[in-house]
Amino acid sequence: MSELINLSGLTKRFGPITAVDNISFSVNRGEVLGFLGPNGAGKTTTMRMLTGFLPPSAGSASVAGHDVVNDTLEAQKKIGYLPEGTPLYGDMTPAAFLEFVADVRNLKAPERQQRIDDVVAKVEIEDVFYRPIETLSKGYRRRVGLAQAILHDPEVLILDEPTDGLDPNQKHQVRSLIRNMAKDKAIVISTHILEEVEAICTRTVIIAQGKIVFDGTPGDLLAQAPTHNAVCIRVPRARAGQVKTAIESVPDVARVEHKEDSDGRTTLVVFPSRGRAIIVDVSQRLTERALAVDEIGVLQGRLDDVFRRLTLEP
């Protein structure tokens, strides 16, 4: 069975507020789903329903074929979950805490000690293994939280903002950890850091005000950027008009914007129609007309722009 997570019409209402509104998607084995949205969009609420912490108001969700409402325990056995903010028992040491989780996960010797050692090495918490969790730094706590989530090598991993508040090195480390586990699991990561999506996700779902506003690959998402595949050219100001006229007649060029720079040059941004790649045609035209330019390059489009457009639309 390759479909490990399925959400169908999942809805959660808190009194008059609909926090999650009729969300449906599924995640297959091998996928890393980046679950994006502004703060308060309903990411955490969705994850809490998926892990059996909150009961849905309507709709259903299943994990590895087990309904999270009617078969909560079996579903929870398949899930590794890192809740938002990594709440942990401060008076315990990572050692005692992982023993507790190993008990609950019913890990038996000899595999048990092996799993604990494995995970401790993977998240690198050997140094603090016997110190009370309340004395640990945020980075270490997050790693202890990750350790408990992956201890039983779950098929489904649900991580609520796993890199929030970590420094760039720690972020990198957590991301490679996730990437290395990805191939035989279904992983859902909530985040509002867009670089993370490009770094590790194979798919992106964006929600805003409890509704799905985008579902596709990070590439699809980028393609929606207004500057996607646009060509940026810098020329001396004197030649700007000439270049602009030459380019405007290239097929698939929608429009050309220009901006005077302070160093006496002009930046021309050439927008393609329907996101087509136009760089070859544009540079060819420039060569034909023997128009020299100082710089020419393709703009990748910025995820931030797409994100903002998708989530701010009424």
């Binding site: 809490r48 909560t72 325990l73 979950y81 903010g85 709440p87 008076d91 507790f100 009370p132 408990q148």
Partner: protein, 247 residues
């Protein structure tokens, strides 16, 4: 018994948690100090000239009144406050198992405190020839009563994230159960309530049921009463945790 899967790991974790902070030692010292002081000064252990532990057990309902809510207040309020409840309840642990595991851990802890009063029992055996059957029955009764206090306090703890509120409300609820058999409370109802209602109120009293046991009359109904209070409170506790998970 799928509803109680993983009760044991919860029990072990909670039990260890009492001893990882000074709480356990503070509680045990205060409990032993108070029960001793009450027995000798207020209970007039020596001057009564009787080889029994009546004056020792007499004060248990009152000592428990504020010590047990103190033990129970952290059980759920702390989980709620720190957010660990989300970890606990998204692990494959049914709510009933979490509730029972926590209750049993706290009860076992209180049981240890009660067991540590054994010098009292040695003393009275050294001084005279007490009826040890009655003493054993009283210990069992005291343990059962502490369980009833505890179950009520644990249920109260599950509705708040504030431990101080959990403590005060639990103490008040326990106080009502404690005093409902006393004449001062019953007189209030006797004036206007029908006789059977007054009897129901009186029947809910911890003191009435506990006194029966400490006098050496082990009535199945007294034992059953405490077990019923524990069961009903734990049942309510499960319901409250389920109801207020997210909030």
């Amino acid at each position: 018994m799928q509803a109680f899967t993983n009760t044991l790991p919860v029990f072990r974790r909670e039990f260890a948690a009492y001893f990882s902070t000074p709480l356990a030692y503070v509680f045990i010292v205060i409990f032993l100090g108070l029960s001793g002081a009450f027995t000798f000064y207020l209970g007039a252990f020596f001057t009564r000239g009787q080889a029994d532990l009546q004056s020792f057990f007499l004060f248990h309902p009152w000592i428990y009144l504020f010590l047990i809510p103190a033990v129970a207040m952290r059980l759920w309020a702390e989980e709620r406050k720190t957010g660990t409840m989300e970890i606990l309840l998204t692990l494959p642990i049914p709510t009933a198992a979490a509730v029972v595991g926590k209750f049993l851990a706290a009860w076992a802890f209180i049981g240890i405190a009660i067991a540590l009063t054994f010098p009292m029992w040695l003393t009275v055996n050294y001084l005279g020839n007490p009826d040890n059957g009655v003493i054993v029955a009283s210990y069992v009764g005291s343990l059962l009563m502490s369980g009833a206090y505890l179950a009520i306090s644990a249920a109260v703890s599950s509705v708040t994230r504030n431990q101080v509120i959990a403590f005060i409300v639990a103490a008040v609820v326990c106080f009502l159960f404690l005093t409902s058999g006393l004449e001062i409370v019953l007189a209030f109802f006797r004036g206007w309530a029908p006789a059977f209602f007054v009897d129901v109120i009186a029947a809910l009293s911890f003191v009435t049921h506990f006194e029966g046991i400490t006098k050496g009359i082990i009535d199945g109904r007294d034992v059953l009463f405490f077990i019923a209070v524990i069961a009903v409170s734990l049942f309510i506790n499960v319901g409250l945790v389920e109801l207020k998970k997210g909030g």
